[in-house]
Symmetry: C2
Subunit: 405 residues, 2 copies
């Protein structure tokens, strides 16, 4: 008998038919003799509906009240899922985030989990019940409702799996697992059976939309084994777990493309120490996350600084850049340009040489022009023209033989 | 500076415009220097939507889960009301029923309030905030969410007014107050300035839909002064409070009509002791509330028993009646017939004679045929043909001079 935490996202519980489908899957797991805890999100769309309703009353609604408001989305789903389970003869009980003892700090709308007590979940499981827990929400020490921000339900599931010492945390989603590349772009992309936390993290931060990095980081920190799999079929998904020696035999695990990046360039900046520091401190203070950076010396000894940010951060970045140019007493802000970031990820890079050579060789052969490069211990990323992104992904996928098991 | 509890029903918070309107009313009260606690219902319609969604998954959904589900209706309204107050510069904070310390028993979907701690409401008020509390919901000692059943938000408001020692509990609704009769039926019906709890109770149980009896009973038990008034204008409403000697000067306070009653007749029952007891015990065991009763002896020494019940209880009543006939070994169940119950209510009846004579005289003069009669210390009710109900109400209203202040 295993203890399994399952997490179903908003699409999987989007309407009564889908909730019935989820209930059937839970029953199948329970019928195998396992103890099952289920974390559910709000049905897709409901969170945006609630935000719209609040903003129609107040363009900048209070974050504490937004948390009280948004928490109702998951509260609806837990009750309906329990009710659907009863209809097919499965004993089940719902628990809100607060009832499940998800304790957070008081950073409303983006709270961090401080502790998970689990409430009475263990007792309910021992009485033979499936426990349905509201994802995305928690409670401060003062009894205020909080929400965990984007990807919060995955985080709830992984944190509960840790607290309950579950054997596995299954993250059900609308994809079959993590692929060697986006199958819509690379026809012979293959589902991965196994990934390390580090690889999953690099893929998450490189444009693979399967999970938010914070949930993977939590799993890594507390060594929670999880599986990404589809709620629409019964195929095994992708297991993500701590690195094992044999995992390094694979040089590159996957190729990721992020088309949500924009390149911002400041040219003709005075070339003196501290220019870059001034800019990136100012960006950081505004909450802008900078990804790739290049600095070089242009004509007349003046410096050029180029960095990439997510599309939604462009207006704030331009505002900061203009202020910094004024402060420095010189420089020009060039128009922002869309770029694509293409990355190859694999823990095998740590111990194998020649990966970079093969990477750049493949892109050169495919005629892809590289604008920027960044690397980590287990990743190589390049910024290129968006129009060349798919070509680059296919070239790298083929070069590293990712289509073969 | 007074402490005022205001309660707004589902119609008053039915859409963003109405929530804005409620926020303005709250601000006006706050601007007069009063401390304000606001109890809100779910927007009208949302509770039925949620019930439908649950029943599409399970025709008889678990009551504990229904409470978790239904509680989200009020949770939405408290957050949106607080957000609307912030938009017009009023400091406000929302509290769910559990956060407000509304402690109930565990009779899910119809829980009784055991205690009200108020949580941190006093402190929030002292900090200058308006506190918005979710009506209709509470928490068991075990931390389970409960709902209070029909009229639950009124009960929440009155219970909070008691716990906080409020000066008045204002029940805002879509009518101006309690009238001497239904103004749609009796053109010169007049709004009452003042009522005793007993009169309000008799009116509530006689078809006046303004408030559920349980809230009035709670107010009477704990001596909570409340006012029924409209959320769509600024007119004073009807104050309901403990009886004072001068209130007895009014003979009859109002006339109520209940058209939701059905007469059930069992004829030719064996006339032996215990027949009525058998029937009414069986009905009580099924949760059927019987209102009026007549027993008489028909032909051949056989007994007839007639009683009235609310329309929704007719199927259960017929089932019970058939079982009792089988058990007694005799009797016939006649087809149920709609009736109207018309009542005159006033605490002055206790000390004044001649009320009954005037009551029956007025109905006789109006040609109204009486089927059944019941009386209490402060009420006379008759069952009549539904077609004669309006005629009867007008006749009684005129006979007791209720159109005059």
């Amino acid at each position: 008998m295993a203890l399994i935490v399952q997490k179903y996202g908003g699409t999987s519980v989007g309407n009564p038919d889908r909730i019935r489908n989820v209930a059937k899957r839970i029953k199948a797991q329970r019928d195998r003799g396992d103890q099952v805890v289920v974390v559910v999100s709000a049905r897709s769309g409901v969170t945006n509906e609630l935000i719209d309703r609040a903003k129609s009353l107040n363009p900048s609604p209070d974050e504490r009240e937004m948390d009280t408001l948004l928490a109702i989305g998951e509260q609806e789903t837990i009750a309906l899922t329990a009710i659907a389970l009863h209809a097919i003869g499965v004993q089940a009980v719902s628990r809100t985030g607060p009832q499940a003892g998800i304790i957070t700090d008081d950073a409303h709308t983006r709270a961090r989990i401080l502790d998970v007590t689990g409430g009475d979940i263990k007792r309910q499981l021992d009485e033979g019940k499936v426990v349905i827990v509201a994802g995305f929400q928690g409670l401060t020490a003062n009894g205020e409702v909080t929400t965990l921000g984007r990807g919060g339900s995955d985080l709830s599931a992984i944190a509960l799996a840790w607290a309950l010492k579950a054997d596995v945390c299954q993250i059900y989603t609308d994809v079959d697992g993590v692929y060697t590349a986006d199958p819509r772009v690379v026809p012979d992309a293959r589902k991965l059976d196994l990934l390390s936390y580090d690889e999953m993290l690099e893929l998450a931060s490189s444009g693979s939309k399967v999970m938010q990095a914070r949930s993977v980081e939590f799993a890594q920190k507390y060594n929670v084994l999880f599986e990404v799999r589809s709620s629409f079929n019964d195929e095994p998904g992708t297991i993500v777990k701590a690195e094992a020696p044999n995992m390094e035999q694979i040089l590159v695990r996957g190729v990721a493309v992020d088309k949500n990046q924009v390149k911002v360039t400041l040219s003709e900046l005075p070339d003196r120490p501290g220019v870059a520091a001034t800019l990136f401190q100012a960006l950081g203070a505004q909450g802008v996350v900078v990804d790739m950076i290049i600095q070089n010396i242009g004509r007349a000894g003046l410096a050029n600084l180029t960095f990439t940010v997510a599309k939604e951060d462009v207006p704030r970045s331009e505002k900061v850049a203009k202020a910094v140019i004024t402060e420095l007493g010189g420089g020009k802000l060039l128009p922002p340009a869309d770029i694509a970031k293409v990355s190859a990820v694999g823990i095998g890079m740590r111990t194998h040489s020649g990966v970079a050579a093969k990477f750049f060789g493949a892109l050169a052969k495919a005629g892809v022009n590289i604008m920027m490069i960044t690397t980590s211990e287990i990743k190589i990323s390049v910024a290129i023209e968006p129009a060349q992104a798919d070509t680059a992904a296919r070239a790298l996928h083929a070069a590293f033989d990712l289509g073969k098991a």
